[in-house]
Symmetry: C2
Subunit: 227 residues, 2 copies
């Protein structure tokens, strides 16, 4: 069965490192969904502004090849316990289809009637192909749902120490997003080395930081060279 | 991009007519998800029983060809008002991918360690190809979500009159499901003819009914001839 992208999303996550582990975990993180013709026409979106949330159905384009593994090790479980692929939201799955519920912030329409959607709470890498947009409806809400291992493990945000001297030159809107992303602890679950300087690409920047006793300290931010 | 079914679902809906218009609208309606090898192996499902709800990602196999329409007429709006394809959950969409949150009732394991999943609240036709199973997690819950036109229109269930003389021979578990499905009013939104006898296929049965002043009366149920 053949599926084809209707568009793509633009986010600050130019690499997998640092991407929030579910949608809405970092509500501040924005994205802009762009559409190929004819799907960029305003008719396709008539009435969409009356929904608060949307489902993005997308393609794990950063995943090469089809996964053959029956189990995965979710970061929530420290990266050393295994659960079944179908009991996880891991990108390693037979069909690399992703599902994210994001907040619809604004419908942008340019002069030619072309639409792009500003969304927040994204957990997608920059340029991820989008397969479908569906409105989030009341029957999607299951308040009482037990959620397995994701219920059991509390996620402790880190304290982020980002001195002004280091962030000089970074635009305010990116700074807010970066702070929230770092608080989620972007390190691989199996790594906890207080002496290591971690590097993360974020938008046009390289962000360097250490983590020690629950405090993430940003030590350097450099603008990437034009590629 | 190529996707391939990991399995299929078995339901009582052998035709499109009568299928609930969203998942969980009729919680009583059951389905059994079956898997192709190797995805029917128990390892793929390790930990899944600790989730109450699952996402089924599926393929609208009853939809022939790719849809080119920018707008659709949702049954909720009486079938005569148009909204954009991406502001609806219509099956007529560029990529015919469906999304249903269903309740996980039971994980069935046969002697050879092969798994099938009993689920409820289904809105899928019998034999629909399943592309993925994902657990429903807390970040999928957005209690405060406004849901556009689906908020505005109250769905009034019908009173179902199903005389015992008519239902004789129908197994109890199917009767419960049928009652709930009929209460949702399976008629096309644009039709309201009190003199018409409507026919619906349900499991191995043909169900005939009339609708008048909010009362759905089942007039005949016949077993289908073996095909």
């Amino acid at each position: 069965m053949e599926v084809a992208p209707i568009g793509w999303i633009e986010t600050a996550f130019v690499e997998k490192f640092g991407i929030p582990r579910q949608s809405m975990v970092v509500p501040q993180v924005k994205g802009m969904v762009q559409f190929y013709p004819p799907y960029n026409q305003i008719e396709y979106f008539k009435g969409i502004e009356s929904f608060d949330y949307l489902w993005l159905v997308w393609y794990f384009s950063a995943q090469k090849g089809r996964a053959n593994k029956a189990t995965v090790r979710p970061p929530r479980l420290g990266g050393n316990e295994r659960v079944g692929v179908f009991a996880s939201r891991s990108p390693y799955r037979p069909n690399p289809i992703g599902l994210s519920s994001v907040k619809l912030e604004k419908v942008h329409i340019d002069g030619a009637g072309k639409v792009s959607l500003e969304v927040s709470g994204v957990d997608l890498m920059d340029k991820t192909p989008i397969l479908d947009i569906k409105p989030y409806v009341k029957t999607d809400i299951h308040e009482e749902a037990r959620a397995g291992f994701t219920d059991e493990v509390a996620w402790r945000p880190l304290t982020v120490d980002m001195p002004e001297a280091v962030t000089a030159g970074l635009p305010e809107y990116l700074l807010t997003q970066l702070q929230a992303v770092l608080a989620q602890d972007p390190r691989p679950r199996t790594q906890d080395n207080p002496d290591k300087i971690y590097g993360m690409r974020f938008d046009a920047y390289d962000v360097h930081f250490t983590v020690k006793s629950g405090i993430l300290r940003v030590v350097k931010i450099t603008e990437q060279a034009e590629s």
